[in-house]
């Protein structure tokens, strides 16, 4: 457990017990003496705020997603780290990513740590049921629905799966994959005619999804159990299934809609807390974590990919290799559209997610009329945007002031 003199590294990522253990035992090997502490996003924010308000600092380094670090800036919990950024110049972190770490200020607020995205995992047993003419690497949502239907007819069970349980990341699917693929937008076109088509298409997909989907948190479990043959999830949440039986699976890009094949990159960053008890140690730890060797170890241990210029070695474990290929396929698809994680929502991030999940519940689970539901939920969305004054982010076009909902 945490010893007083150790540097404290608080993270919202790599939380599950075995992942945290890998961080402690493998990834942090050779780094300054560190206690690795994890917390869920909302208590994380509360804790950071409390330390600032009490002016009593225990945490030196924080690791969190871009969207989780951003709210820490206005509360003055982050220390500018241009000096650390300068000493990292040779690591080859893409300038675009480094710029994200400035959080819209002139100074470096965090250093990119690792990245991931959301993919589809396909059990090879599902391949025979693919619709005629469909390419598993370039599916559309209609084809996915058709595929699910055939699997249901042939196996007697609904074999598509989504992590729509209490801890699942289903909201990210709706925001980052489904909406932009149909509307080229996440917020502005929320209640557009394209969105209406989208929901109707997705109803057909859901009709072929396993009814337990509303209980799934991590898709690796139903995949390993064979309950689900085709699943969408964050790469870190399917890794166990792939490593356990790499020969059974393919990892492919999520389906495409009329406006392209949208995907959502996930960036986690490392920041130093203002008033950190051990700023020097924290900087050293950043240096350690962004070393190409450490980044490769991170990739193979926990399934998050490097932000630095590090070629994945050929002897990568087959499961991680599958993931790497899946990520590459997703990012390089010729119809790829990038949808960023929401920015600027502060503590309204939860309610923003709720808009999508509620809309899904009403339209798909409770079969409420699509048009009326979209109109009602668009009002909620508008009030969130008005309250946070968050400007649009990709793929929505940049806006002056709060991102509008048409």
């Amino acid at each position: 457990m945490a010893k007083a003199q150790d540097l404290i590294f608080l993270s919202t990522q790599l939380r599950p017990i075995d992942e945290a253990q890998k961080v402690r035992d493998v990834i942090l090997k050779g780094a300054p003496k560190t206690s690795y502490v994890v917390d869920e996003p909302s208590p994380f924010t509360v804790r950071m705020k409390a330390e600032v308000e009490a002016n009593k600092h225990t945490i030196s380094l924080v690791g969190a997603l871009h969207g989780e670090l951003q709210p820490l800036l206005p509360m003055g919990a982050l220390e500018p780290i241009d000096d650390v950024a300068a000493s990292l110049k040779d690591r080859g972190i893409p300038a675009g990513l480094m710029d994200l770490g400035k959080l819209g200020t002139g100074k470096q607020m965090y250093i990119p740590w690792m990245q991931a995205t959301y993919v589809m995992v396909v059990n090879k047993k599902a391949l025979p049921f693919l619709p005629a003419g469909a390419d598993v690497n370039a599916l559309t949502y209609q084809q996915l629905a058709e595929w699910g239907k055939t699997m249901n007819e042939k196996t007697g069970q609904r074999r598509l799966g989504f992590p729509a349980g209490p801890k699942g990341l289903f909201a990210r699917f709706l925001q980052g994959n489904l909406y932009p693929s149909y509307t080229a937008s996440m917020v502005t076109e929320f209640r557009s005619a394209e969105a209406e088509t989208m929901w109707n298409d997705f109803k057909a997909v859901w009709a072929q999804s396993n009814p337990n989907s509303t209980s799934y948190d991590f898709m690796q479990e139903p995949l390993m159990a064979g309950e689900v043959l085709v699943a969408w999830d964050h790469i870190a949440r399917v890794k166990d299934a792939l490593q356990q039986a790499p020969n059974d699976y393919l990892v492919v890009a999520p389906p495409a809609g009329p406006k392209g094949r949208s995907y959502m990159p996930v960036i986690a960053g490392l920041a130093i807390a203002k008033g950190a008890p051990d700023r020097k140690g924290a900087a050293e730890l950043i240096m350690h974590l962004t070393k190409p060797e450490t980044q490769l170890i991170t990739a193979s241990e926990v399934g998050f990919f490097p932000v630095v210029n590090a070629t994945l070695p050929a002897n990568l474990s087959p499961g991680v290799k599958l993931l790497a290929e899946g990520v590459a396929k997703t990012q390089t698809a010729k119809d790829a559209v990038v949808a960023l994680l929401p920015v600027g929502l502060g503590d309204k991030g939860g309610e923003f997610n709720k808009v999508y999940v509620d809309t899904f519940q009403r339209i798909v689970l409770r079969n409420e009329p699509v048009r009326a539901t979209l109109d009602a939920q668009a009002d909620v969305m508008r009030s969130i945007m008005a309250a946070t004054k968050a400007p649009c982010w990709a793929p929505d076009k940049a806006s002056e002031g709060a991102c509008p909902v048409k």
Binding site: I17, E221, M224, A225, G226, E227
Partner: protein, 64 residues
């Protein structure tokens, strides 16, 4: 004589009621207790066996 006969029938009824309620309380705990040694595969093992197919103490490692 008749009273004694109905008495023993009643006693039997009571006894089995008590036993049934004991099973109702203990069975779930027993099952989860055995399941705890099955490790992760036991959760999705189908069909379940009383003793998990692969015994392991991995889950207990969480406590240390």
């Amino acid at each position: 004589m008749t009273q004694r006969a109905t008495g023993s029938f009643k006693g039997w009824l009571y006894g089995s009621g008590v036993m049934l309620l004991c099973v109702w309380v203990l069975l779930p705990i027993g099952l989860i207790g055995l399941g705890a040694f099955g490790g992760r595969p036991a959760v999705y093992q189908w069909p379940k066996t009383l003793m998990p197919a692969s015994l392991s103490l991995d889950q207990l490692a969480v406590f240390f």
